[in-house]
């Protein structure tokens, strides 16, 4: 379990009145249990990325604690084990790939762990299979599409056998095709590994076990996808939009209140309800 206990993080100084300048995380408490698929939504600047970087100790909280499987991220002895367990994939597909071929890049993590060569080879193979990039093992990264690069990035993390996968806006720079590729891989990993998918695209939250919303450094909502999307007025305040299907259903519901007791999240669900 990854536990955030009252985590606050800020740039700048605390002045005499206890007011912290440019506070980026404000008393955030949250739990990521093993195997759960969670989506974190929020506008740009809400603190989502900062939260992600606390999960593997890239950033340390100014107050509060981040505990990963019993290990505190402040503990210098445990930090490398924490980073093995909590894999982070970032937004820019290019700036995560360091090697000259796909295979070597996926091997980078295992190499850092000092694993024997046969083990590295096996893990690279396994990871590439999980993301569907096995045929590309000898390709040079600059010849890949954005979606393919991100899949390689995920493979590179999976090769370290993490318990938790945190995707920090990993789909934000991809075209719709790339996003779909990536969501397929992510959904495939459900249950095998805990996933925190950070995004501002609400359509990617519809299949989550739990959705969290962040605004101005705080977690302002937590619940199942439908629970979150039914908070229509809040959605806009949080800088998000409703899935178009849900928005349509809510508009229809105004005239026909008995319809859509459960809000539809996909075109099929909308159509099914209308036709019954």
């Amino acid at each position: 379990m990854i536990e955030f206990k009252n985590v606050s993080f800020w740039y700048g100084e605390e002045d005499g009145f206890g007011i912290r300048n440019e506070e980026v995380l404000r008393e955030v408490s949250l739990e990521i249990p093993p195997g759960k698929f969670m989506v974190l939504l929020g506008r740009n600047g809400s603190g989502k990325s900062t939260l992600a970087k606390h999960a593997n100790g890239l950033l340390l909280p100014q107050s509060g604690e981040v505990i990963v499987d019993g290990m505190n991220t402040r503990d210098e002895e445990s930090i490398w084990e924490i980073r093995r367990r909590v894999g982070l994939v970032f937004q820019n597909p290019d700036n995560q790939i360091i090697a000259t071929t796909v295979e070597e890049d996926v091997a980078f993590g295992p190499e850092n762990l000092g694993l024997p060569r046969e083990e590295i080879i096996a893990r690279v193979e396994e990871a590439l299979d999980l993301v569907g990039m096995a045929e590309y093992r000898n390709k040079e990264p600059h010849l890949l599409s954005g979606g393919q690069k991100q899949r390689v990035a995920i493979a590179g993390v999976l090769a370290m056998h993490p318990e938790y996968l945190i995707l920090d806006e990993a789909t934000s720079m991809l075209d719709p095709e790339g996003r779909e590729e990536l969501m397929k891989v992510i959904l495939n990993l459900r249950g095998k590994i805990a996933i925190l998918h950070i995004t501002h695209n609400v359509e990617e939250a519809t299949e989550a076990d739990e959705v969290l919303v962040m605004d101005e450094g705080r977690i302002v909502a937590q619940g199942k996808p439908r629970e979150i999307f039914s908070q229509v007025e809040e959605i806009e305040n949080w800088g998000l939009e409703l899935p178009q299907v849900t928005e349509t259903a809510l508009l229809v519901k105004k005239q026909f209140p008995y319809l859509f007791e459960t809000l539809p999240l996909s075109p099929r669900e909308l159509v099914e309800e209308l036709c019954s």
Partner: protein
């Protein structure tokens, strides 16, 4: 579109016996060749070296004509060297015109020096034509790693080289993008004197630098997240292993070089 392996150095991806040689062996070969070629002074030795280079070219599946192309960038320098030696070496003059003279020694010395230079360039070309940049990096890292005990950052150097190689195509594309974007804003690289042209580079260089720093920052974060903490304790996926052909090649090279040197000293 840009930056295929072709674009970097001169590497041609083929599968010849020379291509398959361990990069370390090839690097060492170039090293001892350079030393040997500087020691030797006579035509027979150079002729033998020429023969060896022809043999290597043949074994590399590279036409000798293509190999000679690597001399092209330095053609001017070679001709200049030749001419300078012709005219300025003292000795028995065989041609005179006013105060210009060409000596027999000049011709002989000039040709010798130019041929030596050519042989040096050709030997190095064989290396770069048959060894991919990645292999070269690996080879250099292995050869330099004994120096680690004296604090030489062999691993860090190799890591820097690998990352640089990885990003060259990406940076080229980015440079092209930025050039187009600034051109679309009316920037003109053609006009103006030297100072103006230098100033015009700012809208091109600053964005490249800024983006590179950002890239480096994000890359470092990504590397740390994957437990990178320097070369200590790291294992490797790609290992270099010497095989029979490598040993034969080494033995051959050392024998040849030794033979020629011994001949020279006797």
């Amino acid at each position: 579109m840009w930056g295929n392996s072709f674009a970097i150095g001169q590497y041609i991806p083929l599968n010849s016996p020379i291509h398959r040689l361990d990069p370390r062996v090839k690097i060492v070969f170039v090293g001892i060749s350079i030393i040997n070629l500087f020691i030797l002074q006579d035509w027979l030795s150079f002729l033998l070296w020429g023969g060896v280079i022809l043999l290597l070219a043949f074994l590399s599946h590279i036409s000798f004509g293509y190999l000679l192309k690597s001399l092209r960038p330095l053609l001017f320098l070679l001709i200049l060297t030749l001419v300078l030696h012709f005219f300025f070496t003292p000795g028995e003059y065989i041609w005179e015109y006013g105060f210009l003279h060409i000596s027999r020694e000049g011709i002989s010395k000039g040709l010798l020096i130019v041929v030596r230079l050519c042989l040096l360039i050709l030997v190095t070309a064989i290396l770069t034509l048959t060894t991919s940049p990645v292999e070269l990096t690996d080879g250099i890292e292995y050869l330099l790693s004994p120096l680690k005990r004296w604090g030489f950052p062999a691993h860090e150097l190799a890591m820097m080289m690998t990352i640089a190689l990885r990003f060259i195509p990406t940076l080229l594309e980015e440079a092209e993008r930025i050039l187009k974007a600034q051109t679309a804003r009316g920037m003109d690289l053609e006009s103006g004197g030297l100072v103006q042209k230098a100033k015009n580079m700012i809208p091109l260089l600053v964005p490249l630098f800024v983006n590179s720093f950002k890239r480096a920052d994000e890359l470092a974060i990504a590397m740390e997240s994957r437990c990178y903490r320097g070369g200590q304790g790291r294992t490797r996926l790609r290992v270099l292993q010497l095989r029979a052909p490598d040993y034969y090649f080494l033995i051959f090279s050392f024998s040849f070089v030794t033979l020629l040197s011994v001949r020279f000293f006797l």
